[in-house]
Every structure is written in structure tokens, then in C-alpha cells.
């Protein structure tokens, strides 16, 4: 990536100003590359980009994990090596439910952690370009790709709606 000239960013001091700029830019049809905020701003999460499907995927992890665990229990205890304890049935379905629930939770946790790490592009020692160091502290940043949209217009919109500065985005890595 040619980092030097590809992006510009508008830096905001307040969430309200950020939201005004965000709405205005959507109205004018200006494309926003990304928004960096110190805490989740729900209006932006709902209106920028696709919805995350992580929760739906998580449900399917749970569904298949529960079937898998139950099948494993029935196979090992009922088919592979049935044990006789006190003449009780070796395929003791009701008491298998406890393990099924807990191991399902266990599997959902591990699988969705890895999915999160992969989809959100986060893993230990990962370094992504940081455009503005204040974005994790007290600044809100809108990033605009010059090649995809009219940079001059975006600059003026952001300035009008209360950006404290609109500058060339130079990430430090």
C-alpha cells in the first residue's frame, strides 16, 4: 500500500460532531473507508458496512457441537465399550445432558474465539497501521480513501460539521 497519499482523515472531538459528519457524508454519497472510535458508537456500527454474522455462526457452532458431543457420548459409552454399573442402561441419555451442555458451551467458546480472531483480524503481536493514536483515547476518526471518493468534497463536509482537523493520514507501523 502507498500509505502516504492514499487516505485523508477527519478528526473529531465529540461523538455528536462525528455523527453529524457521518450522516452528512452518507447523504452526499461520499464513501467512508472506516471509522475509528474509542467506544462502540451504535449508529455507525449499524449503518457502515455489512452486519456481523458472528452471532448466527455461533448458533450453528452450538447446534453442531451439541449433536457431536451427544453422538460421541452415545458411541463411547453405549457402543464402543458398554460398562455395567449397577445394571443401569449404558446409554444413560438423561445424565448425558449435563456433559452435552457444558461441552457445547466449551466448543462454542473456542470456535467463536478463533472466528473472531480471524474475521476481526486480531491476534497476539499483530500490528495494523494506526492512523491516529487518539482514536483509542478521546478522538473519533473518519478515514476516507482518496482513490474511491471525492477527497475535496469530503474534506469540506468534515470541516463544516466540526472536525478539529482534516489531514493526510500517515499510519505509523
Amino acid at each position: 500500500m502507498q500509505m502516504d497519499s492514499q487516505y485523508i482523515m477527519g478528526v473529531f472531538d465529540e461523538e455528536d460532531a462525528l455523527l453529524t459528519a457521518f450522516r452528512k457524508m452518507k447523504e452526499e454519497g461520499l464513501e467512508i473507508e472506516d471509522v475509528f472510535t474509542p467506544y462502540p458508537v451504535h449508529e455507525i456500527l449499524e449503518n457502515h458496512g455489512r452486519k456481523s454474522k458472528l452471532t448466527i455462526v455461533g448458533w450453528f457452532y452450538g447446534f453442531f457441537a451439541s449433536l457431536g458431543v451427544l453422538a460421541f457420548l452415545i458411541y463411547t459409552a453405549g457402543i464402543d465399550w458398554p460398562l455395567n454399573y449397577g445394571g443401569k442402561p449404558s446409554n444413560a441419555f438423561p445424565s448425558f445432558i449435563v456433559i452435552t451442555i457444558i461441552l457445547t458451551i466449551f466448543s462454542i467458546t473456542i470456535l467463536s474465539l478463533f472466528t473472531f480472531s480471524w474475521r476481526a483480524n486480531l491476534w497476539p503481536s499483530n500490528k495494523k497501521p494506526i492512523f491516529h493514536e487518539g482514536a483509542t483515547d478521546d478522538k473519533f476518526v473518519i478515514l476516507v480513501n482518496k482513490e474511491k471518493t471525492d477527497a475535496g468534497k469530503a474534506t469540506s463536509v468534515m470541516k463544516k460539521t466540526g472536525a478539529i482537523e482534516v489531514i493526510e493520514a500517515k499510519p505509523n507501523q
Binding site: T76, W81, I102, I108, L113
Partner: protein, 453 residues
């Protein structure tokens, strides 16, 4: 959503976003204080004592403990259940209050979760040692092996316990870590020293607060929150089945799962109270952990104490009402009166009666008294586990098998060792991790300011 005017602000002092970061992150940059180093030293000595005791237990055997054929479960199981109970606070705090949309949790949940992770780690030591031959501990895993293939018994509460504790440790640690990722990124971007930038940068995993990251962050916290809510109830229910599935007098009762879960939340919240009173005082975080926060925790403690009292009375009533002579003996001649009277009444007074003082606002707002009560609750909860484990076992059906029990020095040392691990862990948490969830507090603060406009 939190939108009543009655409760007052959650964060005092009209903080700006930058101020919140500075307030919470400043202990991380400051040089360690004298008391902190002393605390670390004392807890290290306790840990060393614990490691020595663990070494003796493993190299010589369980014979170094005071347990015998009759009282097979001594301090190890008491302390295991006690620690697991304390370890329920974090999840109870984060998850139940997340589901109930209680915004005030965000000032406390980080510390509560830290406590959870350390306490569950401490708890796991005891059953591992109690197995006797720790080098054979992997036998509990269901894997195709050369002994059969002999699979484990899926109907045994002891196996359920192993699975539940492992799952609980995994999920509470990952929930805790997930919440810390944005805060680690804040430290990475704010820290002056190169070492801090590198270390926190490593753990921040490249977080930038972008839209895609926040979306998936929220998605994952809903998933983990939803399933951990199930887990927090089931873990201690499973611990209670360790007891309830057997036919010992005083154990074989359907009351046990709710009784244990509520007891766990009780002791956990008491430990949270103890910790938060210390933490806000030392680090001057009174604007974030306000008196109103502690008042809410105190009210929860008071209410849960009522449930505990009801559970104790129910147990006694059912023992009498069943007409079963062994149950009557255990409760009326072995607990309320008899050899273990002191422990029974310590449990009853500390858990069911003393917290009721908090009905009075004067007492609730006197933090010294609240602090003492919260410690008494944890002492009381320890005696509750003592009552359950030791009184039932020492005198059951056959008088010829009756035996008494007192712990040896090694047993006590293992317990002191886990206390050392807990204090050590909490001190490291104070120093190296933002004690309050910075990003969550910012969101709560912003919501408050908006309402004012």
C-alpha cells in the same frame, strides 16, 4: 436501558474522555508503591509455603493430610468449593448485569472478572491434589487408550465437575481478555515507554477501534455472555451434585443446586465488595466506583443473605419433617447442637443474620462496617462448606465408623498458599491491567452527558 433519574449519575465529576483514560491508566505508569511491594513479598512467602505443601503432598502422599477413611474430604474440598464460590462473582457481575442491562456493572466488572480467573485457578489446585496421584490426572480425559479402550463414566458428578470447571476457567478468562483488548490498545497508544508500548501492543492484537472490530467485539461478547450465563448456574449446580448424588445424611437433598448457586453468588459478591472498597480507596477511583455502586452491591448482599437464611431453615425443616432419624441426628445433634455447634452458628450468624444489618442506610453507607460484614460473609461461607463436608461425613450411619477430623499443617499450608496466589494475582492485576473497563466507562459516561442535554 438505564434511564431512570432516581439513581443519580454513575460516574461523578463530568469527566471528559481523555480524563477517564488518564484517571484509570495512571496507576499503570506510576512507580510501584511501598505497600504494593510489601504485599507482593508477603504473598510470595505464602505461595512458597503452599508450593512446599503441594510438594510434600505429591511426593509423600495424601497421608500427610488429616483426612481419614471416614472423613475422606477435608480442607481440600472445603477450600475448593469456597474458591469456586468466590469465583462466581465475576461472571455473575458481568453476565447477569449485562443481560439485565444494568450499566452500573461497567465500573466493577473488570475487577470482579480478574478475581474470578484467579479464584478458579486456586480452586482447581485442590481436586487435582485430592486425586492422590496427580501424575495420573489425565485418566479423567475421555481418550482412546490402552486400558480397554475404557472410557470415563459420564454419569459421575466428579467428571461433570472436571469438565465444568475447565469450561468455566476458559470462558471467564476469554471474556475477561476480550474486554481488555480495547483498553490494552489505549495503553499502547498512550504509554511513553517503549517497553510498555511493545508489551501492551502485543496483547492488544492490533486493535484500532474500527467499525469491523467493534461489530465483531459486540457479537462475541453477546455469544460469550449468553452461554456463560448458563454456565455460571450450571457450574455450581454440578459442584453441588458432587454432594447431592451421594446418600450421606445432610447431602442427599434436592435443595442443593440452588442453595449452592446462591451461596456462590453471595460469597463472590462479598469478595467483590471487599476488593472494591480497597481498590477505590487506594487508587482514588471514588468517581467511578461511587458510593451508589457500593450501595447497590450491599443491597444485593442483603437480599441474597435472606435467600441463604431461607435455605438454612428449609434444610432444617425438611430434616425434621421427613422424620428420617439420620437427617434429624445430623442437623439437630451434630450441627445445631453437638460437636460442630460453633461452626454451625458461625455460618448462620455471619451469613443469615449479620448482613441483615444492611437494611439500615446508616450501616450501608458506613464503609468500614460494610467492609467488615463482607469479610465476615466469606468467613461464614467457609464455615458453611465445613459444615456440609465434615459434619455429614464424620458421623453417618454406622457409629463404629465415626471419626473426627482436624487438618494437618500441610493441609493448612496448601490453603495459605492459594490465599497467597490470590493476593499475588490481584496485586499484579492492580499494577498491570486497567482496573476499570475504560471503553465501557466512556460509553456509559457519554450516555449520561447526552441525557443531561
Amino acid at each position: 436501558m438505564y434511564n431512570t433519574e432516581i439513581r443519580g449519575p454513575l460516574i461523578l465529576g463530568n469527566k471528559s474522555l481523555g480524563q477517564i483514560t488518564t484517571d484509570i491508566a495512571s496507576p499503570l505508569y506510576a512507580r510501584p508503591k511501598f505497600w504494593w511491594i510489601v504485599g507482593l513479598g508477603i504473598s510470595s512467602i505464602m505461595m512458597l509455603l503452599g508450593f512446599w505443601a503441594i510438594y510434600v503432598t505429591i511426593s509423600t502422599g495424601i497421608g500427610t493430610w488429616g483426612v481419614n477413611n471416614t472423613v475422606g474430604w477435608g480442607w481440600a474440598i472445603i477450600n475448593f468449593v469456597w474458591w469456586i464460590g468466590i469465583g462466581h462473582a465475576g461472571t455473575a457481575f458481568s453476565i447477569f448485569l449485562l443481560i439485565l442491562r444494568q450499566e452500573w456493572r461497567s465500573s466493577i466488572n473488570r475487577a470482579a472478572e480478574a478475581m474470578t480467573v484467579v479464584a478458579v485457578g486456586c480452586a482447581a489446585i485442590f481436586p487435582a491434589l485430592h486425586m492422590g496421584r496427580i501424575w495420573d490426572a489425565f485418566f479423567i480425559l475421555p481418550y482412546p487408550n490402552t486400558r480397554g479402550p475404557l472410557w470415563v463414566n459420564y454419569n459421575s458428578p466428579l467428571f461433570w465437575d472436571f469438565i465444568a470447571i475447565s469450561a468455566y476457567l476458559l470462558i471467564s478468562a476469554s471474556f475477561w481478555y476480550l474486554g481488555m483488548i480495547p483498553d490494552f490498545a489505549t495503553i499502547r497508544d498512550n504509554a511513553k515507554s517503549k517497553v510498555k508500548q511493545a508489551v501492551y501492543g502485543f496483547f492488544a492484537m492490533g486493535w484500532r477501534g474500527s467499525v469491523g472490530e467493534w461489530k465483531r467485539y459486540e457479537g462475541l461478547s453477546y455469544i460469550l455472555g449468553g452461554i456463560a450465563a448458563v454456565l455460571v448456574v450450571s457450574v455450581h449446580s454440578i459442584v453441588s451434585t458432587d454432594f447431592a448424588v451421594s446418600v450421606e445424611p445432610g447431602w442427599h437433598t434436592t435443595l442443593f443446586p440452588p442453595y449452592f448457586v446462591v451461596g456462590a453468588i453471595f460469597s463472590g459478591f462479598a469478595m467483590v465488595m471487599t476488593l472494591m472498597i480497597i481498590l477505590r480507596k487506594i487508587y482514588k477511583l471514588e468517581d467511578y466506583v461511587t458510593n451508589a455502586h457500593l450501595d447497590k452491591v450491599a443491597k444485593i448482599l442483603m437480599f441474597v443473605s435472606l435467600i441463604m437464611g431461607t435455605a438454612y431453615l428449609t434444610e432444617i425443616f425438611v430434616a425434621w419433617y421427613s422424620g428420617n432419624e439420620y437427617e434429624i441426628f445430623t442437623f439437630f445433634h451434630n450441627r445445631i447442637t453437638g460437636e460442630f455447634t460453633k461452626q454451625f452458628w458461625a455460618m448462620f450468624i455471619f451469613n443469615a443474620i449479620v448482613p441483615q444489618l444492611m437494611w439500615f442506610k446508616k450501616i450501608r453507607s458506613n464503609l468500614l462496617i460494610v467492609f467488615i460484614i463482607s469479610i465476615l460473609i466469606n468467613v461464614g461461607m467457609w464455615f458453611e462448606r465445613f459444615n456440609i463436608v465434615v459434619t455429614s461425613l464424620s458421623k453417618n450411619y454406622l457409629p463404629s465408623a465415626w471419626a473426627s477430623y482436624s487438618p494437618t499443617f500441610v493441609e493448612v499450608s496448601v490453603y495459605l498458599g492459594t490465599l497467597g496466589i490470590f493476593i499475588f494475582g490481584v496485586l499484579l492485576f492492580f499494577k498491570y491491567i486497567p482496573m476499570i473497563a475504560i471503553s465501557e466507562v466512556k460509553a456509559v459516561n457519554r450516555y449520561q452527558l447526552k441525557k443531561k442535554k
